[in-house]
């Protein structure tokens, strides 16, 4: 992964690429690419580094969250040095992310993981489509558009692929509320149990 990153930086010093480390035992590190550079980086990966196959495109929803940070400082309190903890909250704005898994069949290597982020989760949800680079991204980018609402600029045929065209929501987003067409559940639990109780109490 670091070799790929160095090759990209050597060829395109201005490209916004950074390594995202995965600290878990699987160690699947990924490359985060700025939206403006992703098409150039993708073409470089395909033509120079031999990443000729895009096996998987998925969307990720990152809703806005409050991040709690605890910092420890050493301060002098009453002449004695003590550790003082201060907690601060920081608002992290939400965004959507597209993840591409690339393999090289000719070099028998992979998977290389590319991440591309949108600006936010509302109006600025466009990223460049990589279908012109890897044809196999076509249907999977349509799926990410369908279920997450990520717009792919330059996609040849960006339509919903699983839901019907008239559908207005994006069901895989964290804040999606499914239609309440629930009538009866033989073994209710959690939220469904709460609904059953509300309905049975409301019924005469």
């Amino acid at each position: 992964m670091t070799g790929v990153l160095e090759a990209i930086r050597a060829a395109m010093p201005l490209a916004g690429v950074e390594l995202v480390n995965n600290p878990s035992p699987c160690g699947q590190h990924s490359l985060r690419v700025e939206r403006k550079d992703v098409l150039a980086v993708a073409e470089f990966l395909r033509d120079r580094l031999g990443y000729d196959f895009c096996s998987n495109v998925s969307g990720v929803d990152w809703p806005p969250q409050k991040l709690k940070e605890t910092t420890t400082k050493k301060e002098l309190v009453d002449g004695v040095e003590k550790e003082v903890k201060t907690t601060s909250e920081r608002d992290v704005p939400g965004f959507l992310e597209v993840v591409y898994h690339l393999y090289s069949i000719s070099k028998k290597s992979g998977a290389l993981t590319l991440r591309v982020r949108t600006g936010d989760r509302g109006a600025d949800v466009a990223v460049p489509s990589l279908t012109p680079v890897w044809k196999s991204a076509d249907f999977q980018e349509r799926e990410a558009f369908d279920l997450f609402g990520i717009r792919f600029d330059g996609h040849p045929d960006l339509r919903r692929i699983l839901m019907w065209d008239e559908f207005a929501d994006f069901p895989m987003r964290k804040d999606y509320v499914p239609p309440d067409d629930f009538e009866y559940e033989p073994t209710p639990h959690d939220e469904i149990l709460a609904k059953v109780k509300a309905r049975t109490e409301a019924a005469p």
Binding site: L162, M163, W164, E166, F167, P178, P179, E185, P188, A203
Partner: protein, 206 residues
């Protein structure tokens, strides 16, 4: 009606007496032509039922018709997604009377494991009058045959005249059910109240 004793007495002398209804229903129930379509994995079991090992031909239902105009029986074999539901209802509307519906498997009955999802219809009985529901995931071919036999029994008992006449003999029934439209959040309407009569959500005292 003919007395049973007299009927069996006549039968012993080689004279068979039957009502028109019995003859008519006997013919219908032994030549059910299913509509040839499958929606998910239950369709694989339906194909196995029709093939040589289980042999649905033994019950006269082997003639799978590729056109709804020639079919008597609709086997809803598999998950009905909300995107597919209007097409299933339209196919049902295109079938000539008398017509019957078997809901095969957990998904067709209630949505099955996908019940709490956003894209699967929670049972085809929201839009169509289901005659026989076969539980299972998927039901074994024997279960489908059992369901078929249950449907045959139901057909044999149907009356053609009188106040208790069958649905298809009732001219007041339009036999056409409204096809739901694709809405912005769900199918519109989400169910047909004339058809859908759910069990009330009642639980034992907790």
């Amino acid at each position: 009606m003919l007395n049973e004793e007299l009927r069996s007495d006549l039968q012993k002398r080689g004279i068979f007496v039957a009502s028109f209804e019995d003859l008519y229903n006997w013919g219908r129930k032994n030549s059910l032509w299913p509509l040839q379509f499958g929606l998910a994995c239950c369709a694989i079991e339906m194909i196995a039922t029709a093939a040589a090992r289980f042999d649905m031909a033994r019950f006269g239902a082997e003639v799978f018709r590729p056109s709804p105009r020639q079919a008597d029986l609709m086997i809803i074999a598999g998950t009905v997604t909300k995107k597919m539901a209007p097409l299933v209802v339209r196919l049902y509307n295109q079938m000539p009377e008398p017509k019957y519906v078997i809901a095969m498997g957990a998904c067709a009955i209630s949505g099955g494991p996908f019940k709490e999802g956003y894209n699967v219809l929670k049972g085809i009985d929201r839009y169509l009058p289901v005659d026989v529901a076969i539980p299972g995931c998927p039901p074994r071919p024997e279960a489908l045959l059992e369901g078929l036999i249950k449907l045959q029994e139901k057909i044999a008992g149907q009356r053609l005249f009188g106040p208790n006449r069958a649905r298809h003999a009732d001219t007041r029934d339009a036999a056409e059910y409204p096809v739901p439209a694709y809405g912005a959040h769900d199918l519109e309407p989400a169910l047909n109240p004339a058809v859908f009569k759910p069990a009330p959500a009642r639980r034992a005292a907790e």
